[in-house]
Amino acid sequence: MLAYTIYLSFAGALLLAVLPKRLHAVARVIALLVALCGLAVALAGFISAGTQGPVAVANLPWIPAMGIHYTLEADGISRVLVLLTGLAAVAGILFSWNIGDKTDDRANEFFAFFLALIGGVYGVFLSVDLFLLFVFYEIAIVPKYFLIAIWGSTRREYGAMKLALYSFAGSAMVLIGLLTAYAVVGGQTGNYSMNLHTLAQYHFSTSFQMWAFPLVFTGFAILAGMWPFHTWAPTGHVAAPTAASMLLAGVVMKLGAYGCLRVAMTVFPHGLDPWGFSFLGIDSWRTVFGLFAVIGIVYGATVALVQNDFKFVIGYSSVSHMGLVLLGLLTLTQIGIDGAVLQMFSHGILAGLLFATVGRIVYERTHTRDLALLNKLQLSKAMPFAAWLFVIAGMASMGLPGFSGFVAEVQVLIGAWEAFPWFAAIAGLGIVIGVAYTWRAMQRVFFSDHPAVTADGTPVPIPEYEPVTWAEKAGVILLAGTSLLIGVYPRLLLDVIAPAVQALPHALLTGGRQ
């Protein structure tokens, strides 16, 4: 049943692509309906599957001669991420409701690309045949380019191209790794297959895994925004229109982390083993990538602290939070990986909320993202809804208990403590800096100390802005409510994630040690 998320999205995209231009106001309604159906399917699948193991969704022969099948399966991790995609999709469309007001908004194309992207993302999370996973992964790249290049803002062509090329380069690295693995398995066993389980069960030689793992992991990690391959992320997020930023930071970056876990770590687990020698304290790929993750956490947070463009603050904060996800994955402990997956969900929701505030609610009305200029606008009085929304979203993003981010971060840090104590401490520092930049942004934008004054010293009157639309309210309630719900009762997700993590290959959960 879950496969219908994919089919509905692509069908919707196709419908919108051929919709006549004059029906541009209807386009967003169609898109919303499709996204809601997708969310309903995802939710139904999530609830009906409960906490059981992998749920088979589809299994059709595709190119049997090559061992490639159309196999979809949803274990706990996939179900959670599919749910996230559904939520992000609906929210994204709600926050793009103003596209479609005018004819040259090109609403049909916008929502068509949007739904195509969503369809590709659903596909990645559900695929168990690695060829199919790769196909969906690549399908997602082109809509991203066009969403940013056509409807974006700051340096959009540059941002779009950078994003597309980085993603494509990452996927090229993954393809090389996958092809070689496929050839090796087929050559040795005579049974050519691209099925994840088959490849995972095969014992590749350690020397093979030692180069295949970092290649495939890096390929996916590029999309996850791992330092130092993260530079596409802030540029891309800032350039993108709001809904695309929400999706990019919220869901697409999670594709990369998901690929790291599902492909790189599952098929080549021994690539994480110690090398046998140690260089400056680094003794395995696990430590290398862990170090990159931690640097990403702190670097992202520190750079966010000095930004003057509101959207860049959020863009860099995404890099920082994804660093936490990668760190959690690399701890190779049940609790760390649980935390990483929960953080994927939580950050997906919160990034959506933050970008929505910055892009849709503030920028659409004030037409500026410069912190210094926003400071003068007394936005806490002019836009109280946005102010309080950002307070809540910011607190949640900081890791305040009661929201989803806290439990996730705690779990990752506990896992990190067991695996790399030093990194855990540095990550903690990153979280503290996270508090700082969120605070700074909140203060500067909404709670200004120095309202603007005219030349003769009288305060400028508070501008009147458009009231908050129903679509924006609905989107906010959806996202903020979810974060709060999961924050208060994280077992809703953890009970589903934990068994799935437990079912990961044994080598992964023994800390990479035999």
């Binding site: 692509a17 595709w62 190119i63 049997p64 001669a65 090559m66 061992g67 194309e109 060829f131 790769f134 196909v135 969906f136 690549e138 399908i139 790249i141 082109v142 380019y145 066009f146 290049a149 056509i150 062509e157 191209m161 597309a164 090329l165 494509f168 380069a169 996927s171 090229a172 393809l175 090389i176 092809l179 070689t180 496929y182 050839a183 087929g186 050559g187 050519y192």
Partner: protein
């Protein structure tokens, strides 16, 4: 040994095997006759329509015959063969030529439509023969038939100086490489005593590698490398692709490539029999160097192009590189993969040049900016070009991705190339990633930029329908690549 003097030629066998070619030749004469006899007073458009229609019918008839009579036979001494794989290549070539003819029936570059169609059919005949040839002499003759026809076709736009210049360059370059190839063939004959590929294979297996043999390889590679536009024999390609009329470029880029790759596969499997080693090394090494050069140079040069035709020319060089890699692997699977790749690439290219022809007709230039805002002027046309370019870039779920994947898998599975194979596959995949940049440039113009003129580009229903059909095929084959596997085995 020269053997045919004592064996009488079996003419019925010859006729049976070459029936497809014969059909084409008859139809080409028919076209000339019809045009001369009945259409003297008709308008240009009507004449072109008739010529193309007849040409298409001829191709269709020939393809139908091939599909209906799958045979496994060979002309005496294995000069020409008819295996399912060869038949697949030939049917593909015929379909491609038919498509080219359909897409050219609105073309206005020529006042001699009858001759145009006839020469296209002659070129197609040459392609069919090349694909089926297994004897050095026949290969040469067929290649010459093909090449001469293409030279003439390139010059067909008599009002364009660019066309004439392109044809001249093409002819000079082509003539020289043909000469070199013949020279190489003569050495091969001298070293092995036979011109049949089978005989050459047997003879080379028994010989040690000699400097003369290496010279022969290099010379032969010159000729064939020219035909497929591989580095370093690619210099004609950008100018020719740019100067020739759009349908002709489509033909050069599609059918002739398929035929040439088919013969390269055959030649390679002759020169590198399964258990040979010394000879194997040198020919394969040659192919690998050409492949590497083509992949790298083709992709890098395409990055800076501002003319869509030149961009596709350099991309053609790159694609030739990928296919050469597949040929160097030299297993039945890799041969089939190369053929699959060549056919689907050719199909996509025909579509792409079809679009270019239409856009050029209204804009008068082939610069990328002519495509600006095309998605708002002609959404369907832009969508087809979108699919073609994405397929060329290797983005799923289109057939181009599948063809690349299949090819790389075949190379890795073959294992005959060892580490260099793996490295080249990695380079190829990386280069594909780079190629997205320049394909995106055109797509960006179509979808992101605002149009300079807002009225739709004039296009006839048949052209649009054909392009849509090709795009649909590109998409459908991408989702169900196994649809072709009746003819071209996968895996």
């Amino acid at each position: 040994m020269i053997a045919f003097a004592s064996n009488p030629v079996n003419y019925s066998n010859l006729f049976a095997i070459t029936l497809p070619e014969t059909i084409l030749e008859v139809v080409s004469l028919l076209v000339l006759i019809v045009d001369l006899a009945w259409l003297r007073r008709s308008s240009q458009a009507v004449r072109m329509a008739w010529a193309c229609a007849l040409g298409v019918l001829g191709c269709a008839a020939s393809a139908a015959w091939l599909a209906a009579h799958p045979s496994l036979s060979a002309l005496d001494g294995n000069i020409l063969v008819a295996t399912p794989l060869v038949a697949a290549a030939q049917i593909g070539i015929l379909v491609l030529s038919a498509l080219v003819l359909v897409l050219s029936f609105k073309a206005e570059f020529s006042r001699n439509p009858g001759e145009f169609s006839a020469i296209v059919l002659l070129a197609t005949t040459g392609m069919l023969l090349v694909a089926a040839a297994r004897d050095l002499q026949v290969i040469f003759v067929a290649l010459e038939l093909l090449s001469l026809s293409l030279y003439v076709l390139t010059a067909f736009a008599k009002r364009s100086a660019q066309s004439a210049e392109a044809a001249l360059k093409y002819y000079l370059f082509g003539g020289m490489s043909a000469a070199l190839m013949l020279f190489g063939f003569s050495y091969l004959y001298g070293l092995t005593g036979t011109t049949s590929l089978e005989g050459i294979a047997a003879s080379l297996a028994a010989q040690p590698l000699s400097p003369l043999l290496i010279v022969a390889f290099v010379l032969v590679s010159a000729g064939l490398g020219f035909k497929v536009a591989a580095v370093p024999f690619h210099l004609w390609a950008p100018d020719t692709y740019q100067g020739a009329p759009a349908p002709v470029t489509a033909l050069i880029a599609s059918g002739s490539k398929v035929a040439s790759f088919a013969v390269l596969v055959a030649l390679t499997s002759a020169i590198i029999p399964p258990d040979a080693h010394l000879h194997a090394a040198s020919w394969a090494v040659l192919l690998l160097w050409m492949a590497a050069g083509s992949i790298i140079l083709g992709n890098l040069a395409a990055l800076v192009q501002t003319s869509v035709r030149r961009l596709l020319a350099y991309s053609a060089i790159a694609h030739a590189g990928y296919m050469l890699l597949g040929i160097a692997a030299n297993t039945p699977q890799s041969g089939a993969a190369v053929l699959y790749y060549a056919l689907t690439y050719a199909l996509t290219t025909v579509g792409a040049f079809g679009v270019i022809g239409i856009v050029e007709r209204s804009a008068g230039t082939d610069r990328m900016d002519a495509f600006a805002g095309l998605s708002r002027r002609n959404p369907l046309l832009a969508a087809t070009m979108f699919l073609f370019l994405l397929s060329l870039a290797g983005i799923p779920p289109l057939v181009g991705f599948w063809a690349k994947f299949n090819l790389f898998v075949a190379v890795l599975r073959a294992g005959t190339l060892g580490m260099s194979g793996l490295i080249l596959v990695a380079v190829a995949i990386a280069a594909s990633a780079v190629s997205l940049y320049y394909y995106l440039q055109v797509m960006k113009r179509m979808y992101v930029f605002a149009p300079v003129r807002h009225e739709p580009v004039p296009i006839s229903f048949i052209e649009l329908a054909t392009l849509a059909l090709i795009a649909l095929a590109v998409f459908a084959l991408g989702i169900f690549p196994a649809a072709l596997s009746n003819w071209i085995p996968l895996g």
